[in-house]
């Protein structure tokens, strides 16, 4: 990790607001990207991104300076997303999750291209699978970094990413986006 980030963190800890702004500007795309893909709802993603930065800035002292800053920041954002997702689970009526669209024709019409289908399929994944998948493929974190970020064993992270891939493909097959596979898919 570059020393620039450490310097920004040091300045932020001294109360330098311009350093805080720089930190937010530097990482806002990645944090918002994760939140948006996790939550699939722009307003929620904005709120959670803001909350994640606020929490991160308030607990900068807890950041382990030996580690990269981004995984730590994404861990905070991921936790906030999962908290919100679990809240949604308890309030199904307010949930914007894809499951509620079902496999009806209207949904197919709306999601008429592959990208949208993949995005819809992402919404059907379990939160842990989705987060691990996004951290690996979207943010290009290593398995070791994801393991530290999610605070779970590396093998578990691998399993989650593999399951995420498989379930996404199964979803695409179900939606007719990908042809029916003859290959027997083994359980991970």
């Amino acid at each position: 990790m570059s020393d620039d980030v450490r310097e920004l963190v040091d300045r932020s800890l001294r109360g330098d607001q311009s350093a805080m702004v720089e930190l937010v500007e530097q990482y806002r795309g990645q944090v918002f990207g994760l939140c948006y893909r996790m939550l699939r709802h722009r307003q929620d993603a904005e709120d959670v991104t803001q909350e994640s930065f606020v929490r991160a800035l308030k607990s900068l002292r807890k950041w382990d300076r030996q580690r990269d800053f981004l995984p730590w920041l994404l861990a905070i954002a991921g936790n906030r997303c999962r908290t919100l997702l679990s809240t949604r689970m308890r309030q199904p009526a307010a949930s914007p999750l894809v499951e509620h669209l079902g496999d009806n024709t209207l949904a197919i019409t709306e999601a008429n291209n592959l990208a949208e289908e993949v995005e819809l399929a992402l919404g059907t994944l379990r939160a842990e699978y989705r987060q691990a998948f996004l951290l690996f493929h979207q943010h290009e974190l290593s398995y070791a970094e994801i393991s530290a970020t999610l605070d779970c064993p590396l093998g578990t992270v691998k399993t989650w990413v593999h399951r995420a891939r498989r379930e996404l493909i199964a979803r695409l097959v179900k939606r007719g986006v990908v042809e029916e596979l003859r290959h027997e898919v083994r359980r991970v």
């Binding site: 607001q17 805080m20 702004v21 937010v24 500007e25 806002r28 795309g29 944090v31 918002f32 990207g33 948006y36 893909r37 722009r42 904005e46 991104t49 803001q50 909350e51 930065f53 606020v54 800035l57 308030k58 607990s59 592959l114 990208a115 289908e117 993949v118 995005e119 493929h137 979207q138 290009e140 398995y143 691998k158 990413v161 593999h162 891939r165 996404l168 493909i169 695409l172 097959v173 986006v177 990908v178 042809e179 596979l181 003859r182 290959h183 027997e184 898919v185 083994r186």
Partner: protein, 233 residues
């Protein structure tokens, strides 16, 4: 390579951020196995589509919103300090208020007579006023200490009775806790093991520790605003 191994190898390649076609074994297997070729193609479709996904831009005023939010919240350190101070005051009150209660009770009721065979010297367990303890001081204190203080002149506590019989060999300590109840009570330890235990018999009016603690905290919280206003003045 067998078909059963294909998907694992495919995932391994993707884990290393390599395209499946770069793996010679996978490529060769796909050349003669249509089913595995379909599977590899499906993975390719998925990841190509995923990487093509456009992420919307984050709000432009995010940093402003974050700073505004930071300003609107009290700092964590201040909250921690306040919490620490409250806990410290509560802990202090747990020790101080019972003593004050004890002093007040004794001064209201006059000297209380200690019963039981061996009395505690006030200098050894000085948890209150010395009023009424002069006569106890005169008693010899030998071996394990037994303190029994009760509103009744005659104690019916079995352990105290046992103590009477055995004298100095009794390995028991009865703790007097004037702070716990509105009237003093006796808590008997486990005589056999010598380990403290909850009372077998409790004087009327003796309250559980949790209740006493919550009362004390309540008293403290009621007293807080008064303290603040007093400090301001």
């Amino acid at each position: 390579m067998k078909c059963e191994e294909f998907e694992d190898r495919l995932n391994q390649a993707l884990d290393q951020r390599r395209r499946p076609e770069w793996d010679a074994d996978l490529r060769v297997h796909c050349d003669y196995c249509a089913e595995c070729r379909e599977l590899a193609a499906a993975y390719g479709v998925l990841l190509d589509a995923f990487y093509a996904l456009a992420t919307p831009e984050p709000p432009a005023d995010l940093s402003v919103r974050v700073l505004d939010e930071l300003r609107s919240r009290p700092s964590t350190s201040r909250r921690v300090s306040l919490a620490t101070a409250l806990v410290a005051m509560a802990a202090a009150a747990l020790f101080v208020l019972p003593v004050l209660h004890s002093v007040r009770d004794r001064s209201d009721e006059g000297p209380r007579r200690a019963s039981g065979p061996v009395a505690l010297r006030s200098t050894q367990r000085g948890n209150g006023s010395r009023a009424g303890w002069n006569e106890i001081d005169a008693l010899p204190v030998v071996g394990p200490v037994l303190v029994s203080i009760s509103d009744d002149d005659e104690t019916t506590d079995p352990y105290a009775e046992l103590a009477k019989g055995t004298g100095q060999g009794l390995a028991s300590v009865v703790l007097y806790m004037p702070s716990i109840g509105s009237s003093p009570g006796m808590i008997s330890p486990n005589v056999v093991s010598g380990a403290p235990s909850w009372p077998q018999r409790v004087s009327e009016g003796l309250k559980p520790v949790t209740e006493s603690v919550s009362e004390t905290l309540d008293l403290l919280l009621r007293a807080l605003p008064m303290s603040e206003s007093a400090s301001r003045s």
